[in-house]
């Protein structure tokens, strides 16, 4: 019996495609963000409010992943920006190849912001690089404030935590301070925003965050 070393990432094929996507986006000065949360945390509604706030002609597009249905794509297409649904047919996460396929025939030169809404799942999407500039994790206040401790992989990898549905705080036992502390225990220095897509509170900070990242990506454009 002999043992041969096999130093290789298990998801090396996914990482290779993600690397190619990242290069293409850098060429075009595109900022890509990968939104991840459990089902029902408010990703689609946050994207609706985000698209609604953009002027016509804004260079933004959305890819939205679900196991079944194109309901989210239909909700998001109302705002007149390019939206494409990725239906995974059972897979609990998006991978880089799905994103690559979904991008076929899209004119990247017309974009500088690509928002990817992952399949609602706080576990599996954490492992897959989609070539994004940053992962963003959305946690709604109707969930537990200890979620960062229960699902550390995603809270560690995400650059930004969005605490959503804060208009519901008076009605739920969620403790904002604990949620922040738990997130910072898992990921010291993590950026955190609080918002409500219903009342609009905090949406300004969210837009500022996106704009700052977009400006930086445009400035770093290589193409």
């Amino acid at each position: 019996m002999s043992r041969v070393p096999l130093e290789k990432k298990v998801l090396s094929e996914n990482d290779r495609i993600a690397g190619e996507l990242r290069t293409r986006w850098r060429e075009h000065g595109i900022s890509c963000f990968n939104l991840i949360s459990s089902p029902g945390a408010g990703k689609t509604t946050l994207l609706e409010r985000t698209l609604e706030g953009f002027p016509r002609g804004e260079r933004v597009a959305v890819l939205t992943g679900d196991i079944q249905t194109d309901n989210d794509a239909r909700r998001l297409a109302r705002f007149g920006f390019p939206v494409r649904q990725i239906t995974t047919g059972g897979a609990c996460h998006l991978d880089a190849r799905m994103v690559e396929r979904a991008l076929a025939n899209w004119r990247l030169a017309e974009l500088d912001l690509l928002l990817i809404e992952n399949v609602g799942n706080l576990v599996c999407p954490a492992s897959y690089d989609l070539g994004e500039a940053a992962k963003i994790v959305v946690l709604s206040v109707t969930e537990g404030d200890d979620k960062p401790l229960k699902y550390p992989a995603i809270f560690f990898r995400a650059e930004l935590l969005v605490l959503s549905k804060i208009d519901l705080l008076p009605y739920v036992p969620f403790n904002l301070t604990s949620a922040r502390e738990n997130a910072l225990r898992v990921h010291p220095g993590m950026e955190i925003l609080e918002l409500s897509s219903t009342t609009g509170e905090g949406l300004g900070d969210w837009r500022c965050w996106l704009e700052a990242r977009r400006r930086a990506a445009r400035a770093a454009r290589t193409g």
Binding site: S2, K8, V10, R157, P188
Partner: protein, 115 residues
């Protein structure tokens, strides 16, 4: 349950290696899984065994090495294992520590018999 696709990726790598080593019998594949990899070792083993059963790779076994999160202290340079998310340096008490490892999801080795 992405452990099934992870197990598939491991088997793809084993089959690629098998193509390069005709006649070899693979016995075991070793992988490293970090505590922040987002992969459940038990679920991965279950999926791996299910995929191997009844194929030419049987009785290939999977050995998982679980890797804890490690940080390095920026002040005293000590590398330490993080327990219960405590990233303060246990040596000098500094809070400025850098993430070193814990997100691994890597193939480590293959054990085989060459005939």
């Amino acid at each position: 349950m992405h452990e099934l696709s992870i197990a598939n990726s491991i088997l793809d790598a084993v089959r690629a290696e098998a193509g390069r080593r005709p006649g070899a019998r693979f016995r075991k594949v070793g992988v490293r899984v970090g505590e922040l990899a987002g992969v459940e070792p038990e679920a991965l083993s279950f999926c791996f065994d299910s995929l191997v059963r009844g194929t030419e790779l049987e009785p290939l076994a999977l050995e998982i090495e679980s890797c804890p999160r490690r940080q390095r202290c920026s002040k005293c340079d000590r590398t330490f294992q993080v327990v219960d998310f405590e990233v303060t340096c246990p040596g000098c008490g500094a809070t400025d520590t850098q993430f070193m490892s814990g997100t691994e999801l890597e193939m480590a080795y293959l054990e085989l018999e060459e005939t």
